[in-house]
């Protein structure tokens, strides 16, 4: 293995290995300069690594970038490598846009086929090489834990832009940011609808919301329920998780309805996919009697889960949510490269 990962201490853990995960508040690997500033983060890997004040700090910074309250070209001369080994439109483009708006540049790999991984190179070697080119690496990869592995081999900060069915912390931050634009997050009733088994955005968001004392309502087709380890962790955090068979049962109680797509690419075969596809769809008729300020979010792309007619209702916030990817990713890029 390469350099030892930077682990954080967690309450209750034996100190012999220094805790479990990368500490976003911890400094870079030995021999590297610690970024300046009272609140600095290095790698952005998993929502597990964040305390509530870390999230609030990033959301505050995102708001500053969103409102133009920042020094122009603050990342002038900096280069981000966007390594996307899975398809992406919004995440990749919003990271590139964020970098450009901060005055920096980006280089990118857009698929496995276009990289040396197709020749058998390991991700570890790719990361070592790209560390020599760029000031930060933004990584999307089909394998869970890929970003954590990358952080062990990188000599520059790594931002996880989605690792398989695992974590997608920058999406979570923009989800939180979109909610916080309209209402305080604390104490909300949030519904998670859709593929909660393979949907990494739902996993990351649920764990982040657990820091805000929300009540979670889960509505998932059979077989796509939230993984037991995540449900257990949420309950350990004191979150009330209420399972519902149908969205109609609960939609009138919700402040936020977070809809996710069935993750076709994570199904072992197409028959399993078609068994559950189209089993839920939000329509304008379902929105009668809902709370006036109900917010419907979706990480996009959608594949029929939300009727386009819902777009014209005041509840539809998913395009605004996608737009918020830019200021949130500006905050992340600035945070790790400042």
């Amino acid at each position: 293995m390469g350099s030892e990962p930077v682990f954080r201490r967690e309450e209750g853990f034996c100190p012999c290995h220094g805790g479990r995960r990368n500490d976003p508040g911890a400094g870079p690997p030995a021999g590297q300069k610690t970024p300046e500033g009272s609140h600095t983060m290095y790698h952005i890997i998993s929502i597990h690594d964040f305390e509530k004040n870390d999230l609030d700090h990033l959301l505050d910074r995102a708001k500053e970038f969103d409102t133009g309250n920042y020094r122009s070209r603050v990342l002038d001369g900096k280069l981000a490598a966007l390594l996307f080994f899975e398809p992406s439109t919004r995440t990749r483009m919003s990271f590139a846009t964020a970098m450009a708006r901060l005055g920096g540049n980006s280089i990118s790999v857009d698929s496995v086929e276009a990289s040396s991984i197709a020749k058998g190179e390991t991700l570890a070697d790719t990361i070592r090489v790209v560390s020599g080119y760029a000031d930060a690496i933004v990584l999307r990869h089909p394998k869970e834990g890929a970003a954590r592995l990358a952080s062990e081999f990188a000599t520059v900060p790594v931002i996880n832009a989605g690792d398989g069915a695992g974590q997608h912390p920058s999406q979570t931050l923009l989800d939180l940011y979109t909610i916080r634009q309209s209402m305080p997050i604390e104490g909300l009733d949030v519904g998670l609808l859709g593929d909660l088994r393979y949907g990494r955005t739902a996993h990351s968001l649920a764990l982040a919301l657990s820091l805000y004392g929300v009540t979670l309502h889960t509505i998932a087709p059979g077989g796509l329920e939230m993984p037991a380890n995540i449900a257990l962790e949420l309950r350990e955090h004191g979150v009330e998780v209420v399972e519902h068979a149908d969205v109609e049962e609960v939609i009138r109680e919700l402040d936020v309805l977070y809809v996710t797509r069935i993750q076709r690419e994570r199904f072992p075969d197409s028959a399993s996919y078609y068994n559950v596809a189209s089993s839920y769809r939000i329509t304008p008729e379902q929105l009668s009697g809902v709370r006036e300020d109900l917010m419907i979010l979706h990480p996009l792309p959608r594949a029929g889960e939300i009727d386009p007619a819902v777009d014209r209702t005041p509840h539809a916030r998913y395009f605004e949510q996608a737009r918020n990817g830019v200021p949130v990713r500006m905050a992340l890029l600035h945070e790790v490269m400042k």
């Binding site: 853990f13 012999c16 998993s46 390991t122 570890a124 394998k143 869970e144 954590r148 062990e152 380890n229």
Partner: protein, 155 residues
């Protein structure tokens, strides 16, 4: 290796040099040997007793390994399956060291992650790494939680 005990049955004789693992959780002796990489084809001379009566715990297993002194990291692996095991290092028939086992906080290269999508199940130069928690073993890379049947995941 063994002698006839006139009071009833075979007993295992003492070993001159090696390790005696006592107070293994009943039924786990063979899994303990698997963790230690000891199979029927390896050279060690072994004595295994399972479901032996124990005043303290009712039943226990015992393993004696001749001419091999277990290292600390090997001992700690055993702790996963036999947290109450006692390790006796024997030299010239005398117990020269006696120690318990400690469950390590992190297991590296001991347990294979059951998640086929985990980065540790690829050709990457990375060891499987699990955190030992009250609720089970959790993969440090993909967060997969192993709650039961740890023995079947041991590499």
């Amino acid at each position: 290796m063994s002698r006839k005990d006139p009071s009833g049955g075979l007993v295992i004789s003492p070993i001159k040099n090696g390790t005696v693992i006592d107070h293994i959780t009943a039924g786990e002796a063979l899994n303990v040997l698997r963790i230690l990489g000891i199979t029927g084809s390896t050279q060690e001379c072994l004595s295994i007793a399972t479901n032996v009566r124990s005043k303290r715990v009712g039943k226990k297993d015992i393993v004696k390994i001749e001419n091999r002194e277990l290292r600390t990291e090997e001992v700690d692996r055993i702790a996963l399956l036999a947290p109450h095991a006692k390790i006796n290092i024997i030299r010239d028939f005398q117990v020269v060291e006696k120690k318990g086992v400690e469950i390590p906080c992190v297991l590296r290269g001991v347990v294979k992650c059951p998640n086929p999508g985990c980065i540790t199940n690829t050709n990457e130069p990375v060891e499987s790494t699990f955190e030992v928690l009250d609720k089970g073993l959790q993969c440090l890379y993909c967060d997969w939680l192993i709650k039961n049947d740890i023995a079947s995941h041991i590499i």
